[in-house]
């Protein structure tokens, strides 16, 4: 069975997000007054085979930690459907 891992990667809260900052400034100057802050992240979808090995979630977590993100500055969340 094929399942999908939906992975969101964002910068840790204390890490500067230059992209978010630039988008925020344009949104503000465009008159979107309700906007308070913007953070930009990455979104990744992975098709996975439900094999015999450990749970897909563990594997996706391993992938996210070791390959997709840099744990020093980023954090991630995983959803499997």
């Amino acid at each position: 069975m094929t399942k999908k891992a939906f992975i969101k990667i964002t910068l840790k809260e204390e890490v500067l997000d230059p992209q978010g900052k630039a988008v925020l400034s344009v949104l503000k100057s465009s008159g979107y007054n309700n906007v308070k802050d913007v953070r930009v992240g990455k979104y990744i979808e992975i098709d996975m085979d439900e094999g015999k090995s450990a749970s897909l979630k563990d594997e996706a977590e391993d992938i996210s930690e070791k390959v997709l993100s840099n744990p020093l500055i980023e954090e991630f969340s995983i959803e499997i459907k």
């Binding site: 500067l16 900052k21 500055i73």
Partner: protein, 753 residues
Amino acid sequence: MNKTEKPSGKLFGLAIDEYEKISELLGREPDDFELGIFSAMWSEHCSYKSSKVYLETLPTKGGKVLIGPGENAGVVDFGDGDALVFKMESHNHPSFIEPFQGSATGVGGIMRDIFTMGARPVANLNSLRFGSFSHHRTPYYLSEVVKGIGFYGNCMGVPTVGGEVVFDECYNDNILVNAFTIGIAKKDGIFLSSECEIGNTVVYVGSATGMDGIHGATMASEEFDLKKNKKRSTVQVGDPFTEKLLLEACLEAMKKKLIVSIQDMGAAGLTSSSFEMADKSEKGMIIDLDAIPLRTFGMTPVEMMLSESQERMLIACEREKFELLKAVFDKWGLNCVNAGEVIKEKVIKFYYKSKIYKTLDIDTVVNGPEYKRPVKKPDYLKEIMPVKINNYKIPENLNDIAVKIVTHPNIASKRTVFTQYDYTIGTATVVPPGFSAAVLRVSGNYEEENKNKSKNDSKGFLLNVNGNSKYAYLDPFTGGMLAVVECARNITACGGSPAALTDCLNFASPEDPEIMWQFAEVVKGIKSAAINLNTPVISGNVSFYNETAKKEGDKTYVSKIYPTPVIGMLGFIKDIGKIITPYFKEEGDEIYLLGEVKGNLGGSLYMDLAYGNFRQKPADLDLDYEVRLQNCLRSLIDKGFLKSAADVSEGGIFTALAESAITNPEKTLGFVVDYDIKGRRIDEFLFSEFEQAFIVTAGKELSGSQGSIAAEILTEYGIKLEKIGMVKKDIMKINSIINLKSGKIKKGYYSVI
């Protein structure tokens, strides 16, 4: 931060006796805030405590030097009222932890050092060291570091015009990223950090302060530990877009004369900028911590002081001009806050929550320890002997070895690296990366009213960065000398005159007497070459502790880099039309050897590839001869006699010839060389490195109508010029031993990296 514990071993990078010294100076144990400040200011990175006694011996004056070391960067007179401002700095440890952000912020930091001085950055170069080319982490580091450098430099609109990339297993656990920036300013438009006046408003400008790189300065001064991340430090993130705005805002404020004194917030952020500015100006400061714009809620005073958030500056401005200054930064959408005042008393008074929080004496904080650490000649050097070439049988497959040498990752083209950098922006790059030295003209018309335009647009300048750590390891003195000499050769080979240099000295721990000995010897070598070539040292940086504790099975050991002095040099040329490039121009041109070939293979790539042993003593350098040789070459180029010139560096004469043949952007050339090697072994002739010689080409006129003038020049300098062959198409032949196809070599040369 935890409550101070009794120090055991090291605390924030401070040694026990340093901690005790602080307690003695304060008359009590330091609190967190004080400890944070002292640990940053007394770190190797900020205080140069181990290197100062040696650095002070370097020549820093004379020639065209306007401002030597001590400021954010050094300044050189470029004539016509123009000045060039440059410096090189390391960002090794952050780049090892997070190669993209580390290299990006390294480039950002060095550019700030330049525009703080009132100069617009006009070119970047870099010197990169990675682990062995086959090491599994090397592709990751290479790709991320190059991306980071490009990301920052390209966005800033500053061309990256040159550099070097070297692979060696001694960098497997400690990569090196050294970044160089040069800027152009008007001689009378230089800004310093030492000119604060009593009553000036202290102004914080640029990005808000976050938790970035807290304790970066102390991190840069510590070996990487087996258990990394012991201190929760956050990585600095670069925002080149904000820096571009900061650049324009600062230069605009300077042009409007709204700034009295200015310093970049680099390592140790607000701490070093405030203490150093106050100290150099012989004044004191009030710093209002409540005014500091924060990105992270609830930061403590010591965190604010130690944050290394990027893209920030500290400015002193006349009180009545603050509103005008703020208007400039408002236009560029940047923070600009009144954060204190310059005072007479030589202390810094910190206000926090509207009350006096701390008062620290500037002299106490700034005048940290200075060490003359123990030195000891390393044991390994006992085994390093001159090459006894007759103990080695000449290999039968010299052609194969020749191919291996020119396609070695350290020789092969770095085109895939430098094409990731914008090197054409600024419309000033006359000779792009990939050749001896980068050559730039002065296209500088950066202001709408043309005010900053140079009065002279026929002049140009040349840039090169260089260092060979293998040689510095085998013979630190010669290695130091060679780094300087090699830069000068690259500049001279284009027709330029070396003018001044900056150095980045990358070493392992200074607490190891053998490392300290290497350091002392390297500095001696740099000094002697800099004096002889008349290229004063105007700025620089020392990076110690490039070593990592490793564990393999039960064994633990320390992986140390070779001593790696890197030199960045500036040269001038009066008439940029006279520049020559190192590659052959036409079939039928004559190839000459200018200088002498001594034939010493110690430390050479050939010894490594043919016999698996490079650990022999490199040849000595005759500096007096070197100066004459370079002056002679420059004269010949100035007379217009030469079409190309290439120095004989790594890979020897064969490599110099091969590169000259295949790097012509328009065509593939070759050569036939027939040279009487007079009883010397052919491999010594082909592959001896860093010979005091150049491969040059000229049209038939040099042996004809121009001959007598050329002969006079050669006699004047006492230099030999011998015809050794001719430029051909497609083939590479030397003395019926080497016989290769240019096309095949070219393909290999451009496809390794």
